[in-house]
Amino acid sequence: MSPKHGARLPLAFIPPGTEVRLAGFGDEIDALQREQLTAYGLAESRPLKVLQQRPMTVILADEVELALEHAVARHIWVEREPGAE
């Protein structure tokens, strides 16, 4: 899935503390990893909160904290929540 410019940003670029919605996975994420991410609860239009970006991207999704390497977070596309900073 390709990003739609303007509305979607890579998860790795989102500042800590921001709440976003998952928009889709990039083609760089293979089928197996996509299944894994889906199993962790990352699915389209699900809300998530970015907790930190260094040394890895750490997010809170459904009360579960997930740590993702930037190589993965760079290819997860998110949209800012309406009304979020």
């Binding site: 197996l32 299944e35 040394p55 750490v58 579960v64 904290e65």
Partner: protein
């Protein structure tokens, strides 16, 4: 192993408390930790509440159809056991994910009970689940449990007879439903399962589950090709990756059901445990916290365990009271001199074997296992994966490999088994090699800390730097020599929890029992072999033959050869041999000796585990690299330390 009749299978995601619940329901001990992947094999034990029932603790599944080794082990258990019912253990604060798995289990047609565990953590986060409503929607018993505290466990045992086949949670897209129906009909015709529903097997098979495919292939024989054709046709018809599309529909169904039964209270600020969890992986604070944790472990194990407790036990109790008394008793009671020597001589079963095992090793492993248990149950260890990820990237691994490595500091044999949590054969091979080479087990670590701690903190630091250097260097080379690509890290960080001391003590007790059962016979055998080698004249010959290497190259006293002979049986046995002659060693000799024996051949039990996991050829290949490498590095440090640190 023959399938158990009346089997009750505990299934669920990783780190939801299956093993704690298993312990509560059976009394049997399983190695339990607050990080995913603790259980890598199916464990079974009789149920406390029904002696005819057998409970099986299965490895956590991130998702089904199976992909990883532990998921495959769980699917094998589902296929092969004569199952009475399933107990799905789920995380109450993440109902959506729990129900995604329930959606699949429901189609297997097996009676199910859902235990929503960690209910206390859900409540602390303001998550409330309407349990009666959920039970009604699913048509099965649903219970709230807190396995660590035992809450709801008796009720869970009591409602197992009421387990029911759940109501279907979803109907897939009509085209998928058509494919599922055709495949299920073919399975019923070609390879019917005694109790699993053909529909559930069809969903797993279409989702690409290798275990279900293998099971069907074995039952259907040549006609399996028909099923394979159906799967290919379904994959071609799907607009996208079929397993992903099926998983997405299950997720949507789980999402809808969880939204209807869950309530979330608004919280203005994160919980204290969440704040601590974030500081622990903070780019600035993470490293000082790690150093602080390591310092505390060193103080507890290296100073309190290996110095204070060993001093009390070895010097005061064994050397001061027990050994003289036992020697007097044996000398007076036994008139045969060689038997006296076997029992209480220089290589006596009591004076060496039991003294090493009980006075030197026991206090060290006890303090280590206790400290390790605290770290495990606190949720700190998975956060280490985040801190260590960049370092492990240098050696072609990701931070997940830190878990077997840290577990290896407890027991390398156990850690070798847990490399199954790693996602690729390449990662497993590199990690097993590094475990065998440069990770000392708790007994050895304690001996090292005890011995070098007695020399100076600099000595401990040099040994630590040597190990890290060897680990990085050999990992760097292995990553370039072993083909394959590195897999980026994606991992769950379980909540930070205040460890329950009772649980940590139980776990420490269980591990000590396991350890002593393994270690005492081997120490006694090792001592007896040393006695025979000594009496037959072989040991002096070995010491003489090893002199150019041990005294010339490593710069150690010639008697240290005996420690290396002992090290062939167990590295910690060898290290203890060096520890016993600590007073005769200079600081450089102590450091060089410990570096060499740490890198030396892994213990016999780990070697057997390496053979089990990697095959004879790979395991022997690793040993053939490790032994000369240990002496090479030891010798180089001997030269460098004499030149740079202090002359011997």
């Amino acid at each position: 192993m023959t399938p158990a009749s009346n089997a009750i299978l505990l299934v669920g995601h990783p780190n939801v408390g299956k093993s704690v619940l298993f312990h509560r329901l059976t009394g049997a001990y399983v190695n339990v930790s607050n990080y995913p992947g603790t259980t890598v094999e199916v464990t079974r034990a009789s149920a406390r509440f029904d002696r005819e029932a057998v409970l099986l603790d299965t490895p956590g599944v991130l998702a089904l159809p199976s992909r990883s080794d532990d998921e495959r082990a769980t699917v094998r258990a589902l296929l092969e056991e004569d199952t009475r019912c399933l107990v799905q253990v789920g995380d109450a604060k993440n109902l959506r994910r729990t129900l995604t798995l329930t959606a699949l289990l429901a189609d297997l047609g097996v009676p199910l009970v859902l235990a929503l565990n960690m209910h206390d953590e859900a409540a602390a986060r303001g998550v409330t689940v309407d349990i009666p409503a959920l039970a009604e929607e699913l048509g099965i018993p649903v219970l709230a449990t807190v396995a660590t505290g035992g809450n709801g466990v008796a009720e869970l045992a009591g409602c197992l007879p009421d387990a029911r086949v759940p109501q279907a949670m979803l109907h897939y897209d009509s085209e998928f439903e058509a494919d599922i129906a055709i495949t299920a009909a073919a399975i019923t015709r070609l390879a019917p399962h005694p109790y699993l529903a053909a529909r559930g097997l069809a969903i797993l098979f279409l989702g690409g589950d290798p275990e279900v495919a293998a099971w069907l292939a074995a039952r259907a024989g040549e006609r399996f090709a028909e099923l394979e054709t159906l799967r290919q046709q379904a994959a071609e018809r799907a607009e996208g990756d079929l397993p992903t599309l099926l998983a997405r529909e299950r997720t949507e169904a789980a999402d809808a059901l969880s939204a209807s039964v869950i309530q979330r209270a608004l919280r203005s600020s994160p919980l204290l445990s969440q704040r601590i969890g974030q500081y622990v992986v903070h780019p600035l604070w993470g490293i000082p916290i790690l150093l602080g944790v390591l310092y505390l472990v060193y103080q507890f194990v290296g100073v309190f365990g290996a110095t204070v407790l060993v001093g009390l036990l070895e010097k005061d109790l064994f050397e001061g009271i027990l050994n003289p008394a036992f020697t007097d008793f044996v000398t007076a009671a036994v008139n045969v001199p060689w038997i006296t020597e076997v029992l209480v001589g220089q290589y006596g079963l009591w004076t060496m074997g039991m003294t090493y095992a009980l006075a030197l090793i026991l206090p060290i492993v006890t303090t280590f296992f206790f400290a390790f248990g605290i770290l495990e149950d606190s949720g700190y260890l998975p956060r280490l994966t985040v801190i260590a990820n960049r370092l492990f990237a240098l050696i072609g691994l990701n931070g997940r490999a830190v878990l077997p490595m840290v577990l290896g500091l407890g027991c390398v044999t156990m850690a070798t088994l847990t490399t199954r949590i790693l996602h690729s054969p390449r990662e497993r091979m590199i990690t097993i090699f590094l475990l065998a080479l440069a990770i000392p087990c708790s007994a050895q670590l304690g001996v090292v800390l005890g011995m070098l701690g007695g020399v100076s903190f600099t000595a401990v630091l040099i040994w630590t730097l040597a190990m890290v250097l060897v680990l990085l260097l050999s990992g760097f080379l292995a990553a370039r020599l072993i083909p394959g690509r590195r897999i980026p890290l994606v991992t769950e960080l379980p909540p930070m929890r205040l460890p329950i001391v009772g649980n940590v003590l139980k776990k420490t007790g269980g591990r000590l029992k396991w350890y002593l059962v393994e270690v005492i016979p081997l120490f006694l055998l090792g001592t007896f072999i040393m006695f025979v080698l000594d009496k037959s004249g072989a040991l002096p010959a070995i010491i003489e033959a090893g002199e150019p290497l041990v005294s010339g190259w490593l710069g150690l006293p010639r008697e240290a050869s005996a420690a290396f002979v002992m090290g062939f049986l167990r590295r910690d046995f060898g290290a203890t041999g060096l520890f016993a002659m600590a007073h005769t060693l200079s600081p450089v000799q102590a450091v060089v000796g410990m570096i060499t024996i740490t890198l030396f051949i892994p213990c016999f039990a780990s070697l057997m585990m390496m053979v089990k996991e990697q095959g004879v050829k790979v395991a022997l290949g690793m040993v053939a690299v490790i032994v000369p490498f240990a002496f090479l590095i030891g010798g180089l440090f001997n030269i460098a330390l004499r030149a740079l640190w202090m002359p011997a």
